[in-house]
Amino acid sequence: MARYVVCKIEDFPASGRMLVEVNRRPVVIFRLGEEWFGLLNTCPHQGGSLFNGYQAGLAESDRPADYRYSRQGEIIRCPWHGWEFDIRTGRSRCRPDAVKVAQFALAVAGGKEIESLDDVKGVETFDVKPEGEYLLLSL
């Protein structure tokens, strides 16, 4: 396993999502509050780019005419055929066990800490300063 510095926290786009390429893999990173989630940017259905999808909430119901809506922004709908994936788990809403998007673990690390780690890559591209905060993706 290796860890990659993908961006400086303060540079993370206000849109709450960012597309990066790590080791030739396209990864879409979502920020939900202070939590970070990385998903392969290739929809398991036909390959749509999840980065271009709509961040919806979770619609649930126990019977017709009953609409419960929660977790606003935590479901990414593929821009192509609209399949829904849970940003937290990568699992598809319709068939969570059968259809999943690969996930990548993310962590926030301080510059000092990063300097002390020896499996971190991509340090060159960022000017890692001891006092800065960075997003690390594990691969």
């Binding site: 019977r63 017709p64 319709c94 068939r95």
Partner: protein, 367 residues
């Protein structure tokens, strides 16, 4: 198929079978007069009401009576029953047959007239048919013009346990899953009756969805497409979730359209789930557990290899219910099921599945 039919003039594989769709016909308007109350009887006479034969099944159309089963019209109940016995019940040794009467009660625009004639019709069925042949069972005809009245009629007639399902036409005023129709499903579920949706239309809309065709052949063809749209409605409107023990039987639909239809519906559900979030499992799973189809017409070619592939596409031995669609002309000779259906599948289709679908069949009637 014929190699299974050993044993001379009485083909054996269907012994004990339940025929889930036979048609019975009201010979003429007067047959129902004794069953109408005074007001409606007199209305029929004053206004010169004619027989309510539906354009969905013109009785003289060749496709609506197998040539060797065709009777001189109007055929009396006695003659129809005799033909049913000789050509099916006795010949093959069926244990039961469920009759559907497609008299055009539902087509009338007057709810009250529809209700009164539906009542008369159900009473006529009980008295003239069920009383005269112990192997017969029937579907309750309901005035779809008014679902509240329809539910009433279900509760009234269901006390006669020889009525084993509720009959609806596939093309109504609005798609069948709409909440408007739910009183019907509530009553059916409460009485433990499957809802049998049969080919036919209230003719509130052109049968094709793109206007009126020129030929009856297309009207009949369109029934199969109508079943597809109405099944979508039942599923996406959440009928199966709202009525968790309700079963639906699709009668005279054709069978071979089902697999590609489900592939498509499952696909769209993946993308549009949040529009109908009460649909929680793939539509194909709902259909496999809750929907049954009768087997005539089957709409397959003669090649048994294709039929085998199709049954594999359907992927379940439990979904099909044996039916002759008597006296409609769906097959010739003894080919009640297309070649390619295995003996094991025949056992499921002709007996186990009907018994599982219609709980009332097991009530001491079927040996």
């Amino acid at each position: 198929m014929n190699d299974l039919n050993v044993g001379g003039d009485r083909p054996r594989p269907y012994r004990g079978a339940v025929d889930c769709d036979v048609q019975i016909t009201v010979p003429h308007r007067d047959a129902l007069l004794p069953y109408l109350d005074e007001y409606w009887r007199d209305v029929s006479l004053q206004r010169g009401l004619q027989t309510l034969d539906t354009a969905a099944f013109p009785r003289q159309a060749p496709i609506n009576a197998r040539p060797d089963w065709r009777l001189p019209e109007p055929a009396s109940v006695r003659d129809q029953l005799r033909s049913l016995q000789v050509n099916l019940l006795d010949r093959y040794g069926f244990s039961a047959a469920i009759c559907n009467c497609l008299y055009g009660v539902q087509l009338l625009h007057s709810e009250d007239m529809g209700q009164s004639i539906a009542r008369a019709l159900n009473d006529w069925i009980a008295r003239e048919w069920l009383d005269n042949e112990p192997r017969l069972r029937a579907s309750i005809v309901v005035p779809m013009q008014n679902p509240t009245m329809a539910a009433e009629e279900i509760r009234r007639v269901a006390t006669d346990r020889r009525f084993v399902q509720v009959l609806m036409l596939v093309m109504g005023e609005m798609p069948l899953g709409k909440r408007y129709y739910w009183p019907i499903y509530e009553a059916a579920e409460e009485c433990g009756l499957p809802v049998g949706i049969h080919a036919g239309s209230m003719y509130r809309h052109p049968v094709t969805g793109t206007g009126w065709p020129s030929y009856y052949a297309q009207d009949y063809f369109s029934q199969a497409s109508a079943f597809q749209t109405q099944l979508t409605s039942l599923i996406l409107e959440g009928v199966f979730g709202a009525f968790p023990t309700l079963r639906v039987v699709l009668s005279e639909t054709g069978v071979s359209w089902l697999p590609p239809y489900l592939w498509r519906l499952d696909k769209y559900w993946h993308g549009l789930r949040s529009e109908t979030p009460w649909v929680k499992v793939p539509p194909s799973e709902i259909v496999r557990s809750r929907v049954r189809l009768t087997t005539q017409p089957f709409d397959t070619p003669a090649d048994p290899a294709v039929v085998e592939r199709l049954l594999d596409h359907i992927g379940s031995d439990e979904m099909l219910l044996f039916a002759s669609d008597f006296p409609h002309w769906r097959f010739d000779g003894d080919d009640l099921l297309p070649a390619g259906v295995s003996p094991d599948q025949i056992a499921h289709i002709s007996r186990a599945n009907p018994l599982a679908t219609y709980p009332r069949l097991a009530e001491g009637v079927v040996p």
